[in-house]
Every structure is written in structure tokens, then in C-alpha cells.
């Protein structure tokens, strides 16, 4: 049975109140926007790539605790990863959210596991995955049209 304490863990509340890596990244090599037309939440992801390595990632936008904490934790987790690792992390996180388990097998989601409670709240999964879809779009080149959850 789902429990609000599993959903709103202290780490999530902390990242909601004090989001890390919040704001535009200058210079950025790619950026992409995510938009959820159902609720109006929007997020913009900035990436600075050093070759194939993620040198920096930031975000800005407005959203709920779940989407803000997810974006904040994501920018921490993705920093320093090589592109294939970053892509695997995205796949693993999305698999976690859809309840398919840690799809990529040996990827350690670490702190991101605190978001696993979201999978018990199906209508909130899109909140948690919004930033990740935008990150994927940014990695694929960015500056394209906003990705949406619909």
C-alpha cells in the first residue's frame, strides 16, 4: 500500500525547497524544454558537454515537489557521466518509474531511489519523468521543440 511518507521523503522535500543546479548554464552546449500540457509544469535542461562527457547540467522551471526534486537529483547524478552512461541512467530511471525495475541491470541509481515511491502514484509519474525526457532530448542535440509528456 502506498504511503505519503514514502512519496514525500526528506530528500525529496529538501531538493524541492533547495533545488541544486537551478538556473541557466552559461555557456551551455545544448538545452531542451519539457512541458506537461495537462498540468502546465515546465522545465528547461541546460547541458555543457565536454566531448562525450557531461561537464555540467542545470535546470530551471516551475513544478511540483516531485518534478523539481527529480530534476534537481538528475542534474547531480548526470554530471561527469559519459554519454552512454547518461543514456543508460535515463533508461534505468524511466524503467524504475514505470515499475519495470532497474531495466539496465547494473546501473546504480543511488540517491535517485528515493523517487521510487512515485510509481505507486500513477498520475504523478509524469511529474517525475518530465526532466528526464528533456535531458534525453538535450543529449540528442537539444534546441529542438519542447518535449511534452503527452
Amino acid at each position: 500500500m502506498s504511503d505519503l511518507r514514502d512519496l514525500y521523503q526528506q530528500v525529496i522535500l529538501d531538493h524541492y525547497r533547495s533545488p541544486r543546479n537551478f538556473g541557466a548554464l552559461d555557456p551551455a552546449t545544448a538545452c531542451a524544454e519539457g512541458y506537461n500540457p495537462l498540468c502546465g509544469d515546465q522545465v528547461k535542461i541546460y547541458l555543457r558537454m565536454d566531448g562525450d562527457r557531461v561537464d555540467g547540467a542545470t535546470f530551471e522551471g516551475v513544478g511540483c515537489a516531485i518534478s523539481t526534486a527529480s530534476a534537481s537529483l538528475m542534474t547531480e547524478a548526470v554530471r561527469g557521466l559519459e554519454r552512454p552512461q547518461a543514456e543508460a541512467l535515463i533508461a534505468s530511471f524511466l524503467a524504475l518509474m514505470t515499475g519495470e525495475g532497474n531495466g539496465a541491470g547494473d546501473i546504480d541509481l543511488g540517491k535517485l531511489e528515493v523517487l521510487s515511491g512515485v510509481k505507486d502514484y500513477p498520475v504523478r509519474i509524469k511529474c517525475a519523468t518530465l526532466a528526464w525526457h528533456a535531458l534525453r532530448a538535450a543529449l540528442e542535440g537539444g534546441d529542438s521543440e519542447a518535449v511534452t509528456t503527452e
Partner: protein, 426 residues
């Protein structure tokens, strides 16, 4: 089939007190539990629940006499046609329409407004003409006008609101001119509960332009007595599902002389007199605007919903809901971390029982999840009114919207739910 509800209603009208518990017993869904709690349904502005008599009327139609209307000569078709047209008569009486031929059945408010935009607006609008809306409109009273303006070269303007979330009538008047062809506005704001002074809007419009006044009444008809003749508007649109009726059915009321001069919206069967490949002749209103097989059982169910509302009495419903609103505002005003939006006048009939609020440090979606965990259904989001959210400077709000069956105990549960939000996010 309406006997049980009518009986309850008549007894209630005869007694001094509004017996909300007996009224609740007419709504089967209110019995259910959600996440281990008794359902507290405060999302009536999105869609209300149905009383047993409405569910039964729809079911009875399908069980015992359903056939296509206006088609066959057989017994079932005759019975269905009679019931369908009788429902039209009930709707006409309900809104004070002088003639039931002025009542067009549609799929809902959205289709009604699109119908007016395309059949009334499109042939008349020319480049430079203006369609005047307000900043509080639902998307369904914005986008149809944008579409017709793209087609015609006319433009959409929005009259501003005061900081209290009321239409600024002076500035509205200042925007009216001889290029204004349509004025379209909500009777009651779905996001704020603001009740617009339609007679005043009509009077101003008539004095400064020859524009038609189109009213979105979706949030008004379930909550207050509506008389289109007294309002003085030209079109009035509303939905069945918000007034305790079935989904997929709604109404467009229009002045007969306007409807009679309008081309069809959809083409098809039932709306023609004679069809050849060269040309087709069209039926008079309302059939002209009801192409294809209509939603027969939902229309009949809507007629029963109207009788149900009338048996309780709109004045009594309005008074009860207003007491719930006053109670809610009284408690919320004492909570410094709750900010109620568009909170112009919480007393008097200028506000419907809709409360839109934001909580310091907690996003509306998180509030909604925490309330849902306690069985409390509210709406979080932009309420299909993004320009209004922009005007208010918030991305979203928490909206509690009351219906006739809500109770003071449910107001208290909502407030204790908000305290739980504060405990988690505080």
C-alpha cells in the same frame, strides 16, 4: 422514474431545513470509499455526480424504449422521439427560454460555443472586427474564437479583471466599439467562482455596439436560477455533466431570429429537408444544428436532472452552497499560509461556491495528492484557464468546488487535509 427524487425534493421544500443527508442518499457514488476514507467530492466544477433517478432514466431508456428519434414510424421511435423532445421542453422551461425551438442539443458547452463561433461568427466577422472576451475565460470560450478569427481576419481581445478577480466593467465598456461583433464571457468563472453581472454587460454592449452577447453558463446552471430572458443575452451555453446530468450532452440556447439566420454547423442526416447532389435544404432550428443521431438517452437523462434540480429548488441549492462557501472562507481566512485567489466578495450572491487557493511552499499537485490520500477529490492545475493563471501570476491553483450534496463536515475535512499538507511541507 423521477418519483423517488421528486418526493425527497418536495418534502425538503416543505421543511425549513435543507436535509443534505437525504439528498446525499440520492447519489449512489457518494457511498463509496476512496483510499480507506469516505469520498469527499469537491471537484464539482470539473464534473458533478449523478443522482439515481438520472442513472435510472438513462438505463430505462435503453432497457425499454430506445430507438432513433425523428426517423421511424414504429412505436419505439415514436416513444424515443417524444421523450427526447419532452426533454427539450424541460430544458427550455428550466432556463426561461420563450420557445423550446431555441434549445439546441449539443455534446456540451464546448460544442455549443464552437457552434456559435462558426455558424454565427464566421459569416459575419470581417478583417478588423473584434471579438471581446474576458481574462477569466475557460479555454473553451477562447480557442473557438481564435479559430474563427484566424479564418476571418477578425481579432480576439480580452477585457481585464480587477485584482479581486472581477470583470473591470469600466475597462470592458471602454473596449466596446462599432467593430465589436461578439462579446463572449462566462456567467460564472470556473476557476474563481466570480459571478459576472450579465444584464450590466448586455446593457453596456447594446449601448456601444451591435455585438451578440454569448454567455458560457456551464458553471451557473447547476448552482443558481438562470433565466435567459432576464439576462438579456443572445446565446447561452451549458453542459449536462456539470448539472448532475449525463455526460456527452449539452445545450445551446439562442434567440430564434439569430438561430434562424445561421447556416448549419455540421451537415448530415436529420438536419435537411431535401438533398440532391446540386444542393440541400436545411431544417429550421433546432434540427438544423442537430445533424446525425443525437445523444437521445443522455438528453432524456438531462431532462430528469432538470426535474431533480427543480424539485430541490435552485434558490435552496444556492443558499446551501453559499453557506458552505462562507464556512470555508471563514476558516481559510484564519490560515496565513493559505492564499485564496480572486477573493473579491465572499458574501452575497456575487460569488459561486468555488474556492481557488495556493499554499505557501506547496505546489497544487502535491496538495492534490495529499488530499487524495484522505479521499478528498479536488482539482489542481490551470483549470483550462491559462490566461487567467498568467493574470494571477500563478502556474496553477488548488480548486475546491462545491455541489448541492456537500456538507459542512466535508469543509472541515478539507481544512484538516490542508493542515496535513502544511505538516508535510511546512
Amino acid at each position: 422514474m423521477t418519483a423517488p427524487a421528486a418526493a425527497v425534493g418536495n418534502e425538503q421544500r416543505d421543511s425549513a431545513a435543507f436535509d443534505v443527508e437525504r439528498l446525499r442518499a440520492c447519489f449512489p457514488i457518494l457511498e463509496r470509499n476512496v483510499r480507506g476514507h469516505r469520498l469527499v467530492y469537491l471537484d464539482n466544477a470539473a464534473s458533478a455526480q449523478r443522482p439515481e433517478v438520472v442513472i435510472e432514466a438513462v438505463s430505462d431508456c435503453y432497457r425499454t424504449y430506445y430507438a432513433n428519434a425523428h426517423r421511424g414510424v414504429h412505436a419505439l421511435s415514436e416513444q424515443s422521439t417524444d421523450a427526447y423532445e419532452a426533454a427539450r421542453g424541460k430544458l427550455a422551461r428550466f432556463i426561461g427560454a420563450p420557445d423550446s425551438h431555441e434549445v439546441v442539443f449539443t455534446r456540451g458547452t464546448t460544442e455549443s460555443l464552437n457552434l456559435v463561433a462558426q455558424s454565427y461568427g464566421r459569416p459575419r466577422l470581417e478583417p478588423g472586427d473584434e471579438v471581446l472576451l474576458t481574462e477569466m475565460e475557460h479555454h473553451s470560450n477562447i480557442v473557438p474564437w481564435q479559430l474563427v478569427c484566424e479564418q476571418t481576419g477578425a481579432r480576439v481581445l480580452a477585457a481585464p479583471l480587477t485584482d479581486d478577480g472581477e470583470l473591470d466593467l469600466d475597462r470592458f465598456a471602454g473596449m466596446l466599439n462599432e467593430r465589436t461583433r461578439v462579446v463572449a464571457l462566462a456567467h460564472v468563472s470556473n476557476a474563481l467562482g466570480t459571478v459576472n453581472d450579465i444584464p450590466a454587460v448586455v446593457e453596456l454592449t447594446r449601448s456601444r455596439s451591435d455585438a451578440a452577447v454569448v454567455v458560457d453558463g456551464a458553471q451557473a446552471v447547476p448552482h443558481m436560477a438562470v433565466d435567459v430572458a432576464a439576462l438579456g443575452c443572445d446565446f447561452y451555453a451549458f453542459s449536462g455533466h456539470k448539472m448532475y446530468g449525463p455526460g456527452g450532452i449539452g445545450v445551446l440556447w439562442g434567440r430564434h431570429e439569430l438561430l434562424a439566420a445561421m447556416p448549419p454547423y455540421h451537415g448530415g442526416g436529420a438536419m435537411i429537408t431535401r438533398v440532391t447532389f446540386e444542393r440541400s435544404g436545411y431544417m429550421a432550428p433546432p434540427q438544423r444544428f442537430e445533424a446525425g443521431t443525437p445523444a437521445i438517452a443522455p438528453a432524456i437523462g438531462l431532462g430528469v436532472a432538470v426535474e431533480f434540480l427543480e424539485s430541490i429548488g435552485l434558490e435552496r441549492i444556492e443558499r446551501h452552497e453559499h453557506e458552505l462557501l462562507s464556512h470555508t472562507m471563514e476558516v481559510l481566512n484564519d490560515l496565513p499560509w493559505v492564499n485564496v485567489l480572486g477573493h473579491a466578495s465572499n458574501a452575497g450572491p456575487v460569488r459561486a461556491a468555488v474556492v481557488s487557493l495556493v499554499i505557501d511552499g506547496a505546489h497544487p499537485h502535491d496538495v492534490a495528492t495529499i488530499l487524495d490520500e484522505q479521499g478528498i477529490a479536488i482539482r489542481a492545475g490551470h483549470h483550462c484557464a491559462q490566461p487567467l493563471m498568467d493574470r494571477l501570476g500563478v502556474p496553477a491553483t488548488v480548486r475546491a468546488s462545491f455541489g448541492m450534496y456537500n456538507t459542512h463536515e466535508e469543509v472541515d475535512l478539507l481544512v484538516s487535509g490542508l493542515h496535513e499538507v502544511r505538516r508535510i511541507f511546512g
